[in-house]
């Protein structure tokens, strides 16, 4: 149980173990079989399972997603990989109009055990078209499941769960999480929908951090500690279906909710969570809520603007501080070097 793995290796291991278990699991997508092996997440798979089970494709996001649907209809359990969420915009018709709807519109007769892996880019000039989250699109449409694990442990458990799930699952990775290290059991295990993870216990404010923003929330918590504020941090892990109970309960306890998203705010996951919790707690408990996410602009590649574009530990800490102490406070913690590398602890 003490074994540490990188996130990418956790993904790789989950894939390999599931492929061994079930011959119907196959992996395909642009560059999955190339020397870079999708940051290493597909390394060695083609050698182990052969080019019929692991293959690169032409640049044809629309048809390849449609093909994944067809394979799933035929009883395979395809894992289709996109190296950027942004490129999924080319596959929206198949995802929204076909994959999400087939089980329902055929009266339950068919089902699609399909995983779509995709990555959010950040930094080093990713810019306008390589940095988007956009998973709220998939949370909007019934018939899709969405998961965005942040730790190597959850990456493995969620991917195994996603592969075994009989429905289309959008599996959201973040490039800045790919080389995070954490404890990962050797055996197979699942991290299922329905249970958000409380990653830090606290009593003054609830921070919900999605995808990479989970890390920033943990940083914020450490900054807030230094000013005597006790923070509860929650990682929803599965975004659809979403464990709103855990978030509601925590908010009922702390009276304050900040949702920090790795995406824009308008009609995003942060709006959904804040609206849901508000509806649930109204009349029961007075609360304060706040949404944070990308600035409402296109992502700029130049470093000084990019820094302003994203929420980060200090900014999140400031928002919590303001909510608790004083809306007008200018307190903003200085970035601490020792918080630059945060390793996920566990096992959970």
């Amino acid at each position: 149980m003490k074994r540490k793995l990188l996130y990418v290796d956790a993904i790789r291991e989950a894939t390999e173990q599931e492929m061994k278990r079930d011959k119907s699991v196959i992996v395909f997508g642009l560059d999955v079989d190339d020397p870079k092996a999708i940051q290493g997440t597909t390394r060695g798979l083609v050698e182990k399972f052969g080019p019929n089970r692991v293959f690169g494709t032409p640049l044809s996001e629309d048809a390849m997603t449609g093909a994944a649907v067809g394979m799933a209809l035929a009883g395979l359990r395809p894992i289709h990989v996109h190296i950027r969420m942004d490129f999924m915009m080319l596959a929206m018709n198949q995802i929204i109009n076909v994959a999400a709807k087939s089980h329902y519109m055929y009266g339950g007769q068919v089902y699609l055990p399909l995983v779509i892996r995709s990555m959010i880019g950040k930094s080093w000039g990713q810019g306008a078209q390589h940095s988007q989250g956009l998973y709220s699109f998939f949370m909007h449409v019934p018939g899709l499941k969405v998961v965005a694990p942040t730790t190597p442990y959850d990456a493995k458990g969620c991917l195994i769960e996603a592969i075994r799930d009989d429905n289309p699952v959008i599996f959201v990775e973040h490039r800045m999480l790919h080389f995070q290290k954490g404890l990962v059991p050797r055996k197979q295990y699942v991290v299922s929908p329905g249970k958000a993870r409380i990653t830090a216990k606290g009593k003054d404010v609830t921070l919900v951090g999605i995808s990479h923003m989970q890390l920033e929330c943990i940083r914020a918590k450490l900054y807030l500690e230094s000013v005597g504020i006790s923070t509860e941090v929650i990682d929803p892990i599965w975004l659809s279906p979403l464990d709103i109970d855990t978030i509601s309960k925590s908010t009922a306890k702390t009276g304050r909710l900040i949702v920090v998203d790795n995406d824009w705010i308008s009609c995003g996951a942060s709006s959904q969570i804040v609206a849901d919790v508000t509806e649930r707690l109204q009349g029961k408990r007075e609360i304060r809520v706040h949404r944070m996410g990308y600035a409402a602009v296109t992502c700029p590649p130049t470093p000084p603007l990019e820094k302003l574009f994203y929420p980060d530990g200090p900014k999140i800490a400031q928002a919590a501080y303001r909510m608790i102490k004083d809306q007008k406070s200018n307190w903003l913690p200085r970035e601490r070097k020792d918080l630059q590398e945060i390793e996920f602890k566990g096992p959970f």
Partner: protein, 314 residues
């Protein structure tokens, strides 16, 4: 052979005529895209298939659904929105399905099932199954990028699939000439290294013969795909039960040769009148029963609204 052809042709024609008749009393609260005039393509192709072969198609779905053996009662019930429908009333006329007979679905968004069919064919290869896939689509689907992406992939992987383009000259009211500088669909397809040909004249025998050859070749894996552009003609309006010559986008004379060349009549004339009468009686009886079944069936209960969103995994 001829009586098999005739039964299928006659059945499709008469089912759709009945749909058109019943449509006027608003029992079918759903768009209907009739294939009247185009039946020969579905029948010619599907008669060349085995029952475990798979077909995918578009919203103009009645003909290939029935030709492939799709259940008539459940189809009509689906059009009526009844719980006994092939999709429990949750699909409607544009999303017919009958898994037991290899009808794997239909899409209201042009072109989408082409890619699904290609993926299914990949899976069949991988699973070392002997069946093959047929993908039906109209001339309008040619314009969509997904068609090309799908051809490219199918050719690359040499998949066991037959593409059938039902070229009825129009996408809704827009002629192929208004959409393609060069109306040579089969030629475009050949450039992918896919054997492709155009079959003129809505000719059921020719379609059957050519598709049968392709099916036979596909018995050996790694020999696909194949492509056929089948020239045909839609007699009725794009959607709905009526004629549409008053709209002015096409002249009634354009239809005339196709009506003269009606494949239902053509095959009818080739079989023994007594046999023919027997077939027709059986089909009429089947149709009567199907509409009665649909009428008598209940609508889905309220709880069905929330069923089938997700499949519970075991």
């Amino acid at each position: 052979m001829n009586s098999k052809f005739y039964r299928s042709l006659y059945r499709i024609r008469r089912v759709e005529e009945e749909i058109a008749r019943v449509y006027l009393i608003d029992k079918i609260k759903s768009p209907v895209h009739l294939s009247i005039g185009q039946e020969a393509v579905s029948v010619g192709v599907c008669e060349a298939l085995r029952s475990d072969d798979i077909v995918f198609g578009s919203y103009r779905s009645h003909a290939f659904y029935l030709a492939k053996g799709g259940d008539l009662k459940r189809m009509i019930a689906e059009l009526y929105g009844k719980i006994t429908g092939c999709a429990k009333g949750k699909g409607g006329s544009m999303h017919l399905i009958d898994r037991a007979h290899g009808v794997m679905g239909a899409s209201a968004v042009v072109g989408t099932t082409i890619a699904n069919a290609v993926g299914f064919a990949y899976a069949l290869n991988y699973q070392e199954k002997r069946s093959i896939v047929v993908s039906f689509f109209g001339d309008g689907a040619i314009d969509e990028g997904v068609f090309h992406e799908s051809l490219n992939f199918a050719a690359l992987k040499k998949l066991p699939i037959i593409f059938i383009c039902e070229n009825n000259l129009y996408a809704i009211h827009t002629h192929q000439f208004q959409r393609h500088a060069n109306p040579n669909i089969w030629e475009r397809v050949r450039s992918y290294g896919i054997p492709a040909q155009r079959i003129e004249g809505n000719n059921i025998f020719k379609i059957y013969r050519e598709v049968s050859k392709a099916v036979k070749t596909l018995g050996t894996r790694g020999t696909g795909p194949f492509f056929f552009e089948c020239m045909t003609y839609r007699w009725k309006e794009h959607v709905g039960p009526g004629d549409d010559f008053h709209l002015g986008y096409r002249a009634e004379e354009e239809r005339t040769p196709w009506v003269k060349n009606d494949q239902v009549k053509r095959i009818a004339s080739l079989i023994d009148p007594k046999k023919r009468q027997r077939i027709e009686n059986q089909v009429e009886e089947e149709i009567r029963e199907a509409f009665e079944f649909a009428e008598a069936s209940p609508f889905p209960k309220d709880f069905e609204l929330y069923s089938d969103v997700f499949k519970k995994s075991k």
